[in-house]
């Protein structure tokens, strides 16, 4: 079971909301799909600058594997207040601990809406379907 202290997007990002701040990352399933289970196939992650405003559903960065590039979509609306630059040099962190160490961006929330997001149980079902 994935952490139930956060919400999940259909494009496999997670968001954990603490008061006015939202921490965003990608799920273990996203990492698995991008890398085909081989962490060394991840080659690059492009994260935004602090200060940038992003709306829910918009792209805040890109992640790249040997074979393909994928957008990182923000589950929430807000302004970027912190970026985990460690990931850019150490993509293996995403496979090791996508839930904590592998966080990507912190947003100052413009809205607390979590419309269209799933809880852990719903996401579990969603992923089970995506596998088939």
């Amino acid at each position: 079971m994935r952490p139930d202290d956060r919400k999940y997007s259909p494009t496999h990002e997670w968001v954990k909301i603490d008061g006015e701040t939202a921490t965003v990352g990608i799920t273990d399933f996203a990492v698995q799909e991008l890398s085909n289970g081989n962490t060394s196939d991840l080659v690059y992650c492009d994260l935004p600058e602090v200060g940038r405003s992003v709306k829910a559903g918009q792209t805040f960065g890109e992640i790249e594997s040997v074979k393909a590039v994928s957008d990182l979509n923000s589950p929430v609306s807000g302004e970027v207040v912190d970026v985990n630059h460690v990931i850019e040099e150490h993509l293996e962190v995403l496979a090791k601990d996508p839930w904590k160490e592998g966080w990507m961006v912190k947003f100052k929330l413009a809205s607390k809406s979590t419309e269209g997001l799933m809880d852990a149980a719903q996401y579990e079902k969603f992923v089970a379907q995506a596998k088939h």
Binding site: N36, N38, S40, D41, V43, Y44, V66, K67
Partner: protein
Amino acid sequence: MKTTSLHAVHEQLGAKLIDFGGWHMPVQYGPILDEVQCVRNRAGLFDLGHMGRVHVTGPDAVAFVDRIATNWCAKIPVSAIRYSLFCKEDGNPIDDVLLYREEASVYIVVNASNTAVDLDWMRRQSAGFRVSIDDQTDRTAMIAIQGPLSREILQRAVSGYDLSKLGYYKFDFATVCGLERTRISRTGYTGELGYELYLPNAEGPRVWSALAELGAAQGIAPIGLGARDILRLEAGMPLYGHEIDLQHNPIEAGLNFGVSMAPEKAGTLGRGALERYAAAPTRKLVGLTTPGPRVPRQGTEVYRGSQRVGAVCSGAPSPTLSTNIASAYVALDAAQVGLELELDFRGKRQPCRVQELPFFSRTRK
């Protein structure tokens, strides 16, 4: 989706399988970049059962191939192989192929994704020629062994034949794993020493396992299409749909070695157009290396200052060169080796430098 005779083997090995030209093929068994290095340093096994294999026989076989293929088939020595293309009248290729010249017949290996188009094309063009066109794809297996150790590993499976006598782009018939008269060619899509074997379907899994076992101590490994694509890009070899297609002719792609301009070849399809491209090219296929983190992809645009000078055909991280590489068509005045250009990633620029192709070759150096 179609499957090769080795499909169950790939599943057992835990390969990630994808649709490739209508075939369910392994893209990787493990990390792609490790597979590339395995072929560069040791040896790798490839299932090429999806490649189209067509035998052209009959009294006009060679003359017919000279009508549809850009290289001069009649001049290929028996037991030699030449790269060639099937071009339309406008000089653009419907496919690139290898011609295996036999005494009075030609064995042709074509791309999986184009096999149906090629066969249709060949049959339509064959009117008036006394030829028989036999598509052997579905009843034969094709296995490649590539890498610096490929010869010594394959030699252990071969009896009564010395592989060191088989020259680059030559083929012969020998006993492999007890199978008499097995076609062996010294060819490949990696820039390495390597061989390709043609077998009856039923023997594919047995020969594959035998080679895996004979090379186990030296670290032979199965290699998927992901690594194959990087290996061929490093080796400067074109992939249909990237460097060449119905809008990209072989002359501007630098594939002149596959196009005979001899007067005797005047009747070849596409010849007039190819001469015009040769006389007045507008762009050139070059290599690019980029020190930045972004991997160039097909369609990534290439700039000199504010001027767009071209676009990427293929790109990949290259473990052999330890940098990201690409092939790209650029304007003739931007094709000079050493020239500094820029790649555009959604408005963010990343520097790159024009390089000579191939990036890497062990076979030709």
